[in-house]
Structure formats: C-alpha cells, structure tokens
Symmetry: C2
Subunit: 344 residues, 2 copies
Amino acid sequence: MKQKKREITIYDIASELNVSPSTVSRALKDHYSIGKEMIEAVKKLARERGYRPNHIAASLRKNKTNTIGVMISWINRPFVSSMISGIEEEASNAGCNVIISQSHDSYEHEIANARALYNSRIGGLIVSLAMETRKYNHFSTFLDNDIPVVFVDRVTDDLNCDKVVIDNFAAGLMATTHLIEQGCKRIAHLSGAQHRSIYKQRAEGYMEALRRHNIEIDESLILSGGMLNSEEGYRMTEHLMSLPNPPDAIFSANDTAAVSAIQYAKHNGIKIPQKLAVMGFNNDPVSLIIDPTLSTVSHPAVDMGKIAARQVLKHREHKDIITSETITLKTDLIIRESTLRKKR
Amino acid sequence: MKQKKREITIYDIASELNVSPSTVSRALKDHYSIGKEMIEAVKKLARERGYRPNHIAASLRKNKTNTIGVMISWINRPFVSSMISGIEEEASNAGCNVIISQSHDSYEHEIANARALYNSRIGGLIVSLAMETRKYNHFSTFLDNDIPVVFVDRVTDDLNCDKVVIDNFAAGLMATTHLIEQGCKRIAHLSGAQHRSIYKQRAEGYMEALRRHNIEIDESLILSGGMLNSEEGYRMTEHLMSLPNPPDAIFSANDTAAVSAIQYAKHNGIKIPQKLAVMGFNNDPVSLIIDPTLSTVSHPAVDMGKIAARQVLKHREHKDIITSETITLKTDLIIRESTLRKKR
DNA sequence: TATATTTACGCAATCGGTTGCGCGACAGAT
DNA sequence: ATCTGTCGCGCAACCGATTGCGTAAATATA
C-alpha cells in the first residue's frame, strides 16, 4: 500500500489559484500586503490539499532553523531531564524542535558539541554549563550570528546573555540557617567546582549564615572542587566524620552527595539527624525515598526549562531585542526527617 | 567584534580550483568517478578554508534530514533518559542530531508528535510506545516513505519494523522463580496495560513460574491496567494487603510501584522481606537507595538506546535492506535485601 | 482632472547542495 | 587507423520557500 504521494507545495496552491507563489507564501503568514479574502482562499485551499510547510526549504533560505539546541551535562539526571521536559513542552507548542547534546561535564565535549550545533544551524541555544568549563569563547559564534543563547542554572557572567537561575546565595543561606536553628554547631559543606557560580554562591550563602550566627567558618569543613557524585559524597563524608572534631551537620550542594552522606552514616551507625543532620539540594526523587527522608531545597526544574525556552522564542520573534535579562526563580526549603531535630 | 564572515560553500571551493561545484560535491564524499588527486585537492582546500557542509541544503535536495526523532513517554524517567543518553551518544558520533518528543503516555499526543516529526522530515525514528497506544497507523507514514522506524522496549508486533527489546517473559519467569525459591507462596503481581506487550509478557513469565512450581494462579493477586506510577503502586499494595489472605510477595513490573509497595509496608509495620518480599523491575537508581534495597531486574537502558540508534543508522546507509530484525538484550536478576529471606 | 498614496500582488533571484545525463580524452583492443 | 570502453568531470535542472523591488489598479488628495 505504498503511496508516495508527492508533497504539495506553495507552487501547487499558487497555480491552482492562479496567483504567484510569493502571494501564497505571504498569505500563509498573514503578511500585511495581502488582501483579506486572498489570505482566506489560500489558507482554505492549503487546508483542503493537506499542505505541509517545508521547514527545510525555509531554513535554507533564511539560513536558520526552527530547532532549539540544548546543551546539558548528562540527560539522565533528574534535574536535567525535568528541565528538558519543560523545554520540550514549550518549544513543541511553538512548533519548534529540540535537539539534545550532552557534554558529560567535559569542556572538550562542550566545545565539540557547540560546533556541531552551530553547523546544524540551530535557531537558538539553551545551555547549562559543564562542570569543567571555565572559558566561554565557544559561545560567541552564536552571539555574533544573532543566534539567541540562554543559560540555565549553570550560568556564567562572562557572557552577555539571558539567564534563568535561582538565587543560590539565598538558598544556601536559608538551608544553612535552618540547620543552625535546629541546633547544629559544626556544619560542613559539600560543594562542586568553585568556578561554577551556582556552587560558589551556595557556599557563600552557607558562610553568610554562619557569620550571621557568629559561628566561625572552619575551612576544613568545606569540601569542594569535584563532581559531587555519589562516590565523592561518600568519601567526603567519610573524611569529615573521621576528623578529630567531626561536624554535626552536612549541607550538600546536591542531593546525590547528600544521599551518600546519609548512607555513610547508616553504614556507620551515625544517627540522623541527632548525631548528623543532612541537607541536600535539588529535591530529586530519591530525597523522598531515602530513609530518613532528605531535607532539601527545591529547584523548579521544569519551570526553568519552560522559561528558558520562552526566552529563546522571544528573541527569535523580535531579533531587535538586545537587552539580556536574568530571570530568577523561587526556591523552597523542604524540611524532612534528615534535619528535623526539634519538634515543631 | 561582530564578524559575520559569510560561510564558504562548495561554489567558493569550486571556483578557486577552477572546477565545477558538482565535482567538489562528489569529491567531498569520495565519489568513485572523481580522480584521486582531485579528491585530495578539494579536501585540502576545504580544510584550509574551514568549509562546513550545509546540511540544510542537502536535506532540502534529498528531502530527508540527518536528524533522528525519538518518541518516548516521559523524558524524566530513569530508564527513558538513560536510553536517550545512549541514542544521543551513538547518533552524535555518526554526525546525526536527535530530536525528542514526549507522548506523556497519551495516544493523542503520540499521534500529534508523529505528525510533527514527519513534518520535520526526520531521517529516522526511534519509538518507545505510550502506555495508551493500541493502534499504530500513525507510523505507517514513515514506513511508506522509507523512513526507518525502530521500536525500543515498548514495542508492537503489529508493524514490521526493527525492535530492540529484552526477553520480558524470561525476566518475569526469573524474577518470580527467585521469589518462589525464597519460600514465597502467595505472590502478587503489579502490572501495566496488558496491550503493552512488555507488561503482558512479564505477567506471562510470572504465571509460568507459578505453574512450574505447581502454585495456583490467583487472579485476584494480579493487578494490572494502570500507569504503574507511585500512587497506583501504593493503592494496589494497600488493596492486596487488605485481602483476607494477603500475599507474601509482590513482583512489580517496575521499580516505581515496587518502591511504593515497600513504603506502604514500612508505613504499616509489615516486615520486608520476612512478611512481604518485593521485587521490582528496571534497576532505577532508587532501588539502591531505598531501605531495604530493592531486588530488581536490570534493564540495559543505555545499550538499548545505542543499539536502536545503530539500527536506524544502518537502515539509512543501506536503504535496500528491508529485513526487520528483533534484537533481544540480556537482563540480569539483581538480588538485594527486599527479597532475600534465606541466607545464601 | 491630474497627482499623490495606498493596496495588492508578481517577478525573479537566492539559499547551498545533489544528481541524471552527457561529453571529451585517453587507453587498450582489433 | 578505427573501434570500444573507461575515466573524470561539467551542465543544468532541481529541492521549496523567502523577499527586495517593481508595478498596476484602486482610492484619496489637491
């Protein structure tokens, strides 16, 4: 039952209506210089004949596709996949495609991916930076060619682009303050690469909370620089708890490491939260599954994705806009068993 | 520092070498009718000038892109995002893009997405069916137009396409047999929509295991038909444990529901695995986090994605191949605390 | 009525590769 | 010396939509 019916084009419509292809092209996008009834006639016939616009042809002519590129570290991380889910939903509603590319947190990969995406003539780019990345020249190609770039979550100030973020400083402050209010005196902090601003800011929020409560900042309790994965989380916790004067709380910059901290504690008979309170970040699904349930900071992943997509689409509409805005979303402190020492 | 240098094209190369564009085009892809030294000269100059092939132009001419579409239920599910990770990696190595589209397990969405992807002129399609889907006409458009379609995991036999699967029957048999060997006598089964073959086959494997051990199949212990999400898992477990003669084991067709089963048990003081053994499916990250750790069947998600991508790419190479193969990957039974009643 | 505007549409070039067909040149066969 | 074949490459027509510029007709203005 193969029926390779040739696709119908604006030329077919044009000749059937005895007008020129240009008129059809314009009519289909409600161009101001086309008459009302002509527009109707064209659209009607297009509908009847089952016309499907050929985006490729348009892309070639305009030298720009209606595809949005998304560069992330790993797609199979709860925060990332949720964010992409939001991007996809929003882009899909606007008739745009989404193409994914993983940096695996490697700077080299990120550069290679940027080149590949540029070669694919994407019409916009959403980026959450690789952990390693410190230089950002690989994005200037896009900016120089008026391809909107929007950073999400793992952003940089070195580029003049839109950003969609949360207030990491405030979140770190809030989380740490909560630990202090629960009576913790020696609070450790697990963080990521400090050139990645989200981690630096969370760490600064953490320090600010200590300062406000006149708690001395002990550098030996701040472990940072790695990938903050489960192995590292476990080892860092092991190290901390082997200290002569171990901490009574750990604030981890992500849930993955926080979960490892809890597991280390359980393996070693350390009571949570009495002996060690643990606070995470991201509100990953595991935070609700682990026992004790993990207190954490909720990260509006899906919304961040949606908003980032909207920003890209907005720039595509009005190419004249040069202003680059930073949109900051709200986070929530989610208090669960792993930090709840006092009765409320 | 805006430097919108015009992209260099095969025409630029052609005129610089005083040959025709067709020669350049052919030389760049090692066409047999082009001389050895011409090919070298063209490639050399292309490299020097920084030539980047314009895929859009090629796509327009060939009416087919080098983009692979991926239709899945939800991207933010561990199995799915891992699979996509595999697809992306493999496609990226072959210079192909990957575009994602989520059905949210809805039949309507799946149809709409299929249309959208077709309109995007994708060069190949990888599908993991929505839970709801029972009819498959929306894929015939691709097949009729020689666009390779490969199904992964949630497949159908109604279409003559490549499939990448695991042996769900064997896995169900293996998992249930393990429960029986652990001394379980009344084993319940949580399953999904029975028109989705993966669930049906797991259920059949479950039943076969019972038969082989002369255990009567009790229909009231087989709950199926839903989405198998956490709420359902919790409710189903509640229902089962309220039965006059409750089960002493639950084999869930996914980890999500299995985790809910464990949580219900914990909330209600039901000892795991002594009073209730729980077996999951997928080896999601949570299975290792929950306490007790969840026994499960590992699903080679990343590999399934990679292989599916390779199949699509293979069909793109040799369009003459019509054979449709089914590739079955290995699963492993992962025994953890939630089912380990006997000392080994 | 003549001129200025506006309205509504057509012309034709363009985006960058791809590919069927053809043709000249040169080598080997007869 | 003629014929046949192969090799290496060019011609030109696509693929389908976009868009700057031009223009005829309709309407408004002087």
